[in-house]
């Protein structure tokens, strides 16, 4: 009895190992005529690029577009550590530049394609009664911003520096503002739930971040141009991408009339092609 148990154990173990080896050798069953494009996309583009992807797939049946949405700096780190997307869409020139300098990008394909700017967002019931930037320095206001590495957090700090340089606000404003920050998030997508749940009173995000569905839950307050920071989004194809033709076709679609219309609808400012 004991011996047959041992034999069974050996047999089962060998079977498991064999199965694992076979599973390792077989690649995911991608049919030759269907291409999957993996697009690493800044979290602030989640809504717009999801829509663009659907529109593109409807026109191109043989291409499937898979998005990974996260903070640009997270996506950059993932690429540096071995992730292999076909396209990278960054919310800041800085992170794209770092990847270009390290040779990860096909540099000829990298172009700025989109403009965005910051906005102040509060929940619809506005519990802290915020009407402008000055209110954010009042004691007890709970603010959420980005970490210094995620583009929207970096732009927020640039905005605060501009305000600190203006005697109307001064350094004291910046300090009072930062003392009110309850959390620094690594992606825009982590900010909105805190506003919608009412855990935070205000957040500095992109003006495009208040999507159409959010408009009955959130209020967007514009930031005066003298303090605002204009963000430029670049996109490009990875040097190692095996699907360069499809990737170019997708980028052309993003910058074409359908893509531009969707982006404009979300509050972005598409830049004309050829810059």
């Amino acid at each position: 009895m004991k011996r047959s148990n041992q034999a069974t154990l050996v047999a089962v173990s060998l079977l498991v190992i064999a199965a694992l080896l076979v599973a390792g050798c077989v690649t995911n069953g991608e049919t030759p005529e269907e291409t999957t494009l993996t697009v690493f996309t800044a979290a602030s583009l989640t809504g717009a690029f999801t829509d663009i992807g659907k529109a593109y797939e409807a026109e191109n049946e043989n291409v499937k577009v898979d998005f990974v949405f996260d903070g640009s700096q997270t996506l950059r780190t993932q690429i540096e550590q071995g992730a292999n997307p076909d396209i990278f869409v960054s919310a800041s020139i800085k992170h794209m530049k770092a990847l270009q300098d390290a040779g990860f990008m096909d540099n000829d394909t990298v172009t700025p394609f989109l403009g965005n700017s910051l906005a102040l967002v509060v929940p619809i019931d506005n519990p802290a009664g915020i009407t402008d930037l000055a209110d954010l320095a009042k004691p007890g206001v709970k603010i959420v911003i980005g970490t210094k590495d995620v583009p929207f957090g970096d732009y927020t700090r640039q905005m605060l520096d501009k305000m600190a340089a203006d005697p109307k606000y001064g350094e004291a404003y910046k300090n009072a503002f930062m003392a009110n920050v309850i959390s620094e998030e690594t992606a825009v997508s982590n900010v909105m739930p805190k506003l919608i749940l009412g855990e935070a009173d205000a957040a500095i995000v992109y003006k495009s971040d208040v999507s159409k569905e959010d408009r009955d839950e959130l209020i967007r307050i514009d930031i005066p141009p003298e303090y605002n920071v204009m963000a430029t989004y670049p996109l490009g194809i990875l040097a190692a991408s095996p699907h360069k033709a499809e990737a170019e076709s997708f980028i052309a679609f993003v910058r074409g009339p359908v893509g531009s219309a969707i982006l404009t609808d979300y509050g972005f400012d598409p830049l004309p092609a050829g810059d």
């Binding site: 050996v10 173990s13 959420v144 970490t147 620094e184 690594t186 749940l197 855990e199």
Partner: protein, 280 residues
Amino acid sequence: MDLTRFRQETEVIRHSSRTRLGKVALTLLIAALLTIFLLFITLPVVSLFLRISPEAFFRSLSEPVILDALSLSLTTATVSTVIVVVFGTPLALVNARYNYRGRNIVDTLTDLPIVLPPAVAGIALLMAFGRRGVVGQYLDLFGIHIAFTTVAVVLAQVFVASPFYVRQAKASFEAVDRLYEDAARTLGASPLTVAFRITIPLAWGGLISGAILSFARALGEFGATIMFAGNYQGRTQTMPLAIYTTMQGDLDAAISLAIILVMISFVVIAAVKIVTRRKF
């Protein structure tokens, strides 16, 4: 009976060479599995140490983000361990000694955080103690805010780490021979005296190792913390959160923090081994 034994014996003779081969194959297989497994565990940990120079490690130790995270982590994990011990010890003692109706339900509930994914714990805590949460909305009326404060960090740690202590404490109390307790009682000791003079001292080793494990789990808490307490340096950014955040800008700092946590983990394992080996 005899007949079956006879048959088995003849089978042994007939297949003895095959059995020996099987034994060798089994030994080799187990050796291979063991080696692969050990490599799989040690290689990533060793890689952490290989990816950073000692100078860079010591340099990053003076960075505010690391110092803040280290002191916040050690403070909150200590506080949450104390809370777990204070609340968990009576519970473990009662459940080890008394059979009451619903004891199984209490046991299951106290074990729940072990199997619950930390992200679930995070959102659950937020729904309970958030500003608009089931309890949080009433606390808010008194100006008490828990979510996104250091208190939230401690609550998240207590929630996820408590089962590690309670389970261990209950098992150690169950292992204490009731004879000693009965003897003390017949000599006129009150239940409280019995607990403090007999049961707890006899279960001491298990209680300490449970508390150390609970401390380690609290120190490593990530998911529930980032959802319920947020991520703010010096206030709610514990070491795991700091690793997650700095990895996106300053890889050296992230690796240094990871190395510190690895060292603490080794100390924890060694401490538990030493404590549990000593018999009281």
